[in-house]
Symmetry: C2
Subunit: 192 residues, 2 copies
């Protein structure tokens, strides 16, 4: 099979699937939630998490005002909620009310934590930097809410309990195939 080489690129989806998250924020009496697929951990110590969002978003303004954000990881059953949150505007409606989103109380910030999340990070903003048409927001994770029974002892996801939401682009969602899981010891493979 021959490869195509593109030098000019528009939107690019080759790097998907990505875990779909719901990012939450609270400022001046307003809550909001948005769907975010561009996110990654950035440091173990201190624990830093980065999300990349457009500065046009209402959520961005709330995060800038409050210097806090939440990152919520939801089971595949909540994929419709991600689509609902992604397809509506927090400037116009209260998404929590409209989509009947239940929340848990945060402990170190004021960001809404989704009750249906199997894990959620409360983050304090430590950097807000423009790259192209997005802003990279880096937060220190100051609290983790997680369903202990959904994780294996090493704190990796227990795929018998939870199927994560993967986003492939263009409104397509899917999950993992747990039967394909393989343990490949890097120490062994690195010496082969």
């Amino acid at each position: 099979m021959a490869k195509v080489i593109s030098k000019g690129i528009g939107t690019f989806y080759h790097h998907y699937p990505r875990v779909a998250t719901i990012v939450t924020a609270h400022a001046k009496g307003r809550d909001n939630a948005m769907a975010v697929a561009w996110h990654t951990s950035i440091s173990f110590s201190p624990p830093l998490y980065g999300i990349s969002i457009s500065p046009k978003r209402f959520t961005y303004q709330l995060i800038v005002d409050s210097k806090e954000f939440g990152v919520n990881f939801l089971p595949f059953e909540a994929a419709e909620l991600v689509a609902s949150v992604g397809g509506s505007k927090g400037r116009e409606i209260d998404k929590f009310q409209k989509f009947n989103i239940a929340t848990d109380k945060p402990v170190r910030t004021a960001v809404p934590i989704l009750k249906d999340a199997y894990a959620a990070y409360e983050c304090k903003l430590v950097d807000d930097r423009g790259y192209g048409d997005h802003r990279l927001l880096v937060g220190e994770i100051v609290a983790v809410h997680w369903l202990k029974e959904s994780f294996a002892p090493e704190e990796i996801l227990d795929l018998d309990k939870i199927c994560p939401i993967l986003y492939l682009g263009h409104d397509l969602y899917l999950t993992t195939s747990k039967d394909t899981a393989r343990s490949l010891d890097r120490e062994v493979y690195g010496k082969r």
Copy 2:
């Protein structure tokens, strides 16, 4: 189910699975490859891609020297190669030789492009910034190598052709379950 709330956290895997990539670099006559799971797109225009790696890595030094890096996306059949690359040290061995890694020629940089990749980005470094124990390297994507027949018309991955490599942490790899794919039109769900 009651949630646990952790305020102090060490390594954290709640946000996995993530697509496992092989990042490549070339400087001063040396090539290297490393396994990277902390990566995300950062901007559409210009197209920017971010990877987070430890400054202790040999690959980091090559990227700083050359101001270039490659990001390679591989099919699940190559999971063992990711483990091999992740479990070996480029300062000590030539991973391309040891693991018999075939490459394609880059077109806008000098970074090795993996022949087995269904997609690969050539990136020119535009920022190198320290966050905690890692460096966030932001690159502008200056060329994309991709197998056109592995992608649907919208340039999202065709899961009938390619199963991506997902990394769950602790040396566990798996792939997607294409039968679970659902199209959820955000415009429709946002109005429900």
